[in-house]
Symmetry: C2
Subunit: 236 residues, 2 copies
């Protein structure tokens, strides 16, 4: 692995974001020498539900969806991983098989880090450990929030919540609209909030008709954030 190349951790696009953000250059280049850089084309899978994890993936560019398929073939997107995030750590850290499939939603750049090595890095660098703990805690919060939403809110409210969370994670303010820089199919959005394809489409139409959102081809815009918050019926 060439030093200071485009694919080195020292020059990584997402160097300032992830669990390694507090490491200094020598430590980074140590990791750099132990990782395996890889690219995935849209639609390719990084790992498949039910298989054994061998390490973690550090995503430097592109979005990846984590999909859990049920016994009857129904799919649910449990999480979306974007540039700067890690992936595959949950299964690794509890020695479970992967309980979901990771699929590239666009062309992505990802580094693979072997189990043994990442555990060593965590043991030797408390700051990395704390970042992993922080990441897991935040994801866990998101998961438990979704859990209660699924029980307590109807589809309209959950859709509003989804749009708000997409705004937070993938939104960019352009003029006076929020542009969502993540292309999702209706099907995918539906599985994110636990509803059927057709039901989701109905409510998306309702949101469009109400002037809350707008669409330009596949790109989504949020026009009226305030109204979205109303519709989401958020707690406290």
């Amino acid at each position: 692995m060439k030093k200071n190349g485009r694919t080195s951790c020292e020059n990584c696009e997402s160097r300032s974001e992830g669990i390694f953000c507090d490491l200094n250059l020598p430590e980074l280049s140590n990791i750099s020498e132990h990782k395996i850089f890889n690219t995935f084309k849209k639609g390719q899978t990084l790992f498949v539900q039910g298989t054994h994890p061998f390490g973690i993936y550090c995503v430097s560019k592109g979005n990846i969806k984590l999909t859990k398929t049920g016994p009857d073939g129904k799919e649910t997107i449990v999480r979306i991983i974007h540039g700067g995030d890690i992936l595959g750590h949950r299964s690794l850290f509890c020695d479970d098989d992967h309980m979901a499939t990771a699929t590239a939603m666009e062309d992505t750049e990802v580094c693979f880090i072997d189990k043994k090595f990442i555990l060593k890095v965590i043991e030797e660098n408390p700051t990395v450990a704390l970042h992993v703990i922080n990441k897991l805690s935040r994801d866990m919060g998101a998961a438990e929030k979704k859990l209660s939403s699924l029980h307590q809110k109807n589809v309209r409210e959950r859709l509003a919540e989804l749009l708000l969370s997409l705004k937070a994670t993938h939104g960019v303010k352009v003029d006076n609209r929020w542009k969502i820089e993540l292309k999702l199919t209706r099907e995918e959005m539906a599985t994110m909030i636990g509803t059927a394809n057709e039901t989701l489409i109905r409510f998306m139409t309702e949101f469009k008709d109400a002037g809350i959102i707008e669409q330009d081809g596949k790109i989504l815009f949020i026009k009226d954030e305030k109204e979205l918050v109303n519709w989401a019926n958020l707690d406290y």
Copy 2:
């Protein structure tokens, strides 16, 4: 705090289980000197949704439920914490306010550990850090599994899953039945699988009629685990 007393970490009932299980005696007694021992009676709350976390709770005895209340007052049990587990760490580690309320389900014994101190312990003891990571990962797995169940399975299947998971966490084999050593109301069980009180009762009756479960007062027994697995329609 007296040394070697009933309430010291060295003599803690759940010493072999929690995140501190790999520490040696001097390290344990160091923690012991920094914790605050407390007891809670059934129904008392340890902390309330929306408040700021100041540390973590280390549960040595008793079960505690974590309940998230929605904007319309509807409650959902997001997790149950039992002896040996920690509590309140999720919010603490991501600097969020508590997003749920912790309520003792029976008389409990709990130690409080201050934020600053627990962070120091984690930084200085990689084994503690790894145990915290492992704990979070397992809880996160459970949360994401529930999430997809809520989308992919009907109430009957989810109830079967709940009973199986109660068996795993609180079950004791007595004769040829599994005794569930956790007393739950129907209401509580309902909020655990995201359904209504009445609906849950209906299916519990169905399970009893089918000879899968049995009840002696408030205590629950699983008679036919095999059939329960069938009804749960588990994946792979």
